[in-house]
Every structure is written in C-alpha cells, then in structure tokens.
Amino acid sequence: ADEVTLQLKWVTQAQFAGYYVALDQGFYEEEDLDVTILPGGPDIAPTQVIAGGGADVTIEWMPAALAAREKGLPLVNIAQPFKSSGMMLTCWKDTGIEEPMDLVNRTLGVWFFGNEFPFMSWMSSLGISTDGKAEMGVEVLKQGFNVDPLLQRQADCISTMTYNEYWQVIDAGVSPDELITFKYEDQGVATLEDGIYVLEENLADPEFEDKMVRFVRASMKGWKWAEENPDDAAMIVLDNDETGAQTETHQKRMMGEIAKLTAGSNGALDPADYERTVSTLLSGGSDPVISQEPEGAWTHQISDKALN
C-alpha cells in the first residue's frame, strides 16, 4: 500500500471525523493507502510540518495557507470538504452589544497563530482599528485555548467555533439567551476553513497525484459516512483520541455541527468561495494578510479525477 501522512490542524476531534472514519471504515485501505494521521496542537503549524517533509498532505484554513504561499511555501488546495465557516464571535448580551459597531471600545479575545486573519479583515471592513480601546478601536487579546476569558469577563467577546467553544460556554451553565453571536458567514467575511493542501511541486509527480486522487476520494467517502452516521462517527473519533480526555456528548454534538459545515460540498473547491476568501483577505486594512492576488493556489486536478 502507498503511505500517506496527514497532518491535522488541531487535536483529535469530530472536526476531523471524515478522515478518522475513512481510516476506521477501511476506505483508505480500499484505495490501497496506508494513512497515518498526525493530530495537531498549539504550536504545530501544519504548513511548517509539510514544508519540513513531516507530512504529505495537511488540513489547513485557507487564510493561513495563502499567507504561507506568500511567504514562499507553495501550498495548493486540492479539495475543500468544508463549505461554510464555523467561526464566530460570542459576546455577553448584558454588555449591551447588539450589532457589530457596538464592538467598538470593547475587549475582544481572538485566536492568533494564523487564525486571526478573518477577524482582522472583518474589523477593517468595519473601519475599526485593533490597536486598543478608542472611539473607533477595540482592545484585542490573544485568547488561549479555552473560553475562560469570557466566563470570567476578562473579555466582552471571544472567538468561538460553532462546533466547539460555543458549546463549552453553554456547558459552563450559560444559557444561549445570555449570549449574542456574530457568525463570520453572516457578516460577509467568511473565509474557507478546513481544506486539503499539498505542496505544488509534488503535484507534478503522477504517482503522487494518483495517491492524492485516491486519498481525496476515500476521505470524501469518509465525510459522507460521517454525515450519515454522526453518532457512530463521533465514537470513532473518540476511539482515536489518545488523550482520553474528550467526552462523548461533546463529540456527538460537535459532529452534528460539523455536518452543517460540510453540507453542500462534494469535496471540490468552489472557485466563487475562493474568490470571496481572497478578496476578504486582500482588504485586510493597513496590514493585509496577503498583498497580491495569489496564483495557482488551488486546483481541480485532483478533485476532478477523484470525484467524477
């Protein structure tokens, strides 16, 4: 079998259910692939791992991938299982925040490590500076990995994913009525999230191309399966979690939310989504994420063969 190493963006969780299902259900094996899944974590930059040859293929968000491309690492999107963005800003209602312009003069928690780009674009589209509290500014905190800043009111709003952190806030006993959320999708600044990326130079190699075709085909099969059997998929993820710290309820719920994000994608990148992402990123205010229109950052070369 051909060996493939997959680097995930984050720790083992239902966000990556499709790949674990494909592995567990033998879809990779059917395609004669021997896949190793490397979970991510804080401090793991999938882009760096793939550059260092630690993985053949990686799951990454498009803003980070495009930024890496501009830094001279030619990543190419070969498939895009996630159609919509799950990122949002979650705020306390009792702070009086009702619409985006109310964010002015507040303290906001944001994820960095390459995940800050959509937020920055959004703020610049609103004309809000991120250099500290001011009439047209916000105080930005680099949020850690948990939702404590919101619960302890060190921040008025924090970044959450529809499928993960939001539910942790709810699990902490907060009722949804106490919160107000702004989905990036609704604000028109959605950027593409989990996509499958490889190094451009590898694509020229027909053998590698063939491997990727089979990989994408099996992975999408896994995603289909996961959408149809969310609870079983969550259990598969749980079985693969080596930390033993994940909980069943949380993963089942996460799987449910993830299914909403994958819905509408057959795995092939929709060029319109790509264009929207690029224009959002290019409008990044004074310090845009990417300074020029990228070229060759995606291809249908693989998905066309895999999905038809």
């Binding site: 760096q48 980070a64 930024a67 490590f113 404590d148």
Partner: protein, 281 residues
C-alpha cells in the same frame, strides 16, 4: 556549496585559533575570555549560514542568520515593544518580586528549623511543576496583561532562590558561629555580620539560576493568553504565520537579554563575593 565548504573551513580555523589562545599565557585576560566565545559564536553563525544555503534548507524551517539579521534590523520597533512588554514589565517585575520574597522568607523561616525542614522538600516538588501547567491557571487568575506573566515568573524563581538562600544561611562553619557566641552577639548582629555575608555566594547562585528562568517563564506564559504584543506572543503567532525569521529575531533578543542579565548578576556577584575562593585566581 562553496559557501558551505568555506564556512566549515572557517569554523575549523577559528577553533584552531581558540586553541592557541586558550593555551597561551594571556588566556586569563578579560579580552581573551570574551573574544574566544564571541568568535566561536560568529564562526558558528557563519557555519549555519553555509549549511542553510548550501543544503537549500527552506527559510520557513530554518532561516539563515543573514535573513534573521535583516528582519531584526527591519523590525526594531516591534522588537522594542515586545521587549518592554515581556522583559521590563513581565520578567523583571516577577524576578524582583520573586527573588525578594524568597530572600525575605528564607531569612524568616531560617529561624525555625522545623519550618525549613518542612518547606524545603515541598519546595523541590513545586520547582518540578511544569510551567505549562501553571501558566494557564495564573493567566486565568491574573488576567492577560503582564501581571499574570510576572506571577508565573514569581512562581518559577521563588523556590530556587529560597532553597539557595536557606542553604547559604546555614553555610557558616561552626567556628565562625562560636566566635559570635563568645561575643554574646544577638540574632540580628549574627545575621548581618556573619550569616548574610557567608550566604552571598549561594544567594547569587540562586539569582543566576532565576535570571535564566525569568525570561523563559514570561515568554511561555504569553502562550496561554496575552495582549497583542510581547515576545511570547510574537513567537507563538510567528510560527503560525510562518514568520520564522521574526521568531528567530525574538529568540535572539531573548538570548541577548538573558545573557546580559546573567552577566550583570555575575558581575555584581564578583564585586560582592570577591572574597570567596571561587572568585580568586
């Protein structure tokens, strides 16, 4: 490739020269003691340059020193802002508070052998607590700004300093103490005239260990939440956005600051404990 070979040759030449200096009669000169490691460092940087360019290592994995230097020069404003946030506010505050508190408490508990015997073993446990576990807790207690970073530094430096000071205070030999007894010197007199001076070599040992820990503590704590400035912030986000050259520039700042801090403490140590055999030649 030629650069690689050239840098290897240079490195070997520098090593040979250092050998010469080290075996020459001037080897204990202040100048020689600084020159030798500095040229070796320079040669090593050059070797690094040669390896990276010669072997074509991608700059997103390991940038060449020349790239790092260029970034360093181009980002002095950012580096300065981060230095103020992490070093001046976080690390130094924590260092001063932690070391002072440890010193004072060491002097206080030293009067009770019960407390010392009870506290020291526990101190060793606490010293083995990983900062990566303590940092998120302290960030959630003390907020995102430098206060939580200082708190992490306090926790990190407290016990090494405490243990060293307590040990130092016991370092007087029996005869030196007996002498004070024959004078019927009081506790305070014995402390000021005998035990504190005798403890100084140990106190400085603690201060030196703490000086390397302080910076690391402040940087690591920023991984668990920070304002949008600081060396730890820049390093952690820099890796994510593949600005590895900026990451290395920050590492260089950390190394320089750490070395200066360590060197400063060593220099004060030399002045204060001039009498100790280890300071004489």
């Amino acid at each position: 490739m030629t650069l690689l070979i050239f840098s290897v040759v240079i490195w070997c030449a520098v090593w040979a020269m250092n050998r010469q200096i080290a075996n020459s009669p001037d080897r204990d000169d202040r100048a020689a003691r600084i020159f030798v490691p500095v040229v070796l460092g320079g040669a090593t940087l050059f070797l690094w340059e040669g390896l990276v360019t010669g072997l074509g290592v991608s700059p997103v994995i390991l940038p060449a020193p020349s790239d790092i230097a260029a970034t360093f020069a181009a980002s002095t404003a950012i580096l300065w802002e981060d230095f103020v946030q992490t070093v001046l506010k976080g690390a130094l505050t924590g260092y001063v508070i932690g070391c002072t508190a440890a010193f004072v408490i060491a002097v206080l508990i030293d009067r009770s052998s019960f407390l010392t015997r009870g506290l020291l073993p526990i101190g060793n446990f606490v010293a083995a607590l990983p900062i990566v576990g303590i940092a998120p807790i302290l960030v959630s207690w003390f907020g995102f700004d430098w206060q939580s970073k200082a708190a992490v530094v306090v926790v990190m430096v407290f016990f090494p300093m405490l243990v060293n000071t307590v040990q130092g205070l016991r370092e007087t030999d029996a005869m030196q103490r007996d002498l004070m007894r024959t004078y019927a010197a009081g506790y305070l007199q014995t402390l000021v005239k005998l035990r504190l001076p005798a403890a100084m070599p140990f106190v400085f040992n603690g201060l030196k260990i703490a000086s390397t820990l302080a910076l690391i503590g402040a940087i690591v704590a920023e991984y668990f939440g920070s304002p949008t400035r600081g060396m730890g912030f820049r390093i952690s986000t820099g890796v994510g956005s593949l600005s590895i050259d900026l990451v290395w520039a920050e590492i260089a700042v950390a190394a320089i600051v750490g070395t200066l801090l360590y060197g400063g403490v060593s220099w004060i140590e030399k002045v204060v404990t001039f009498w100790h055999p280890s300071q004489r030649r």
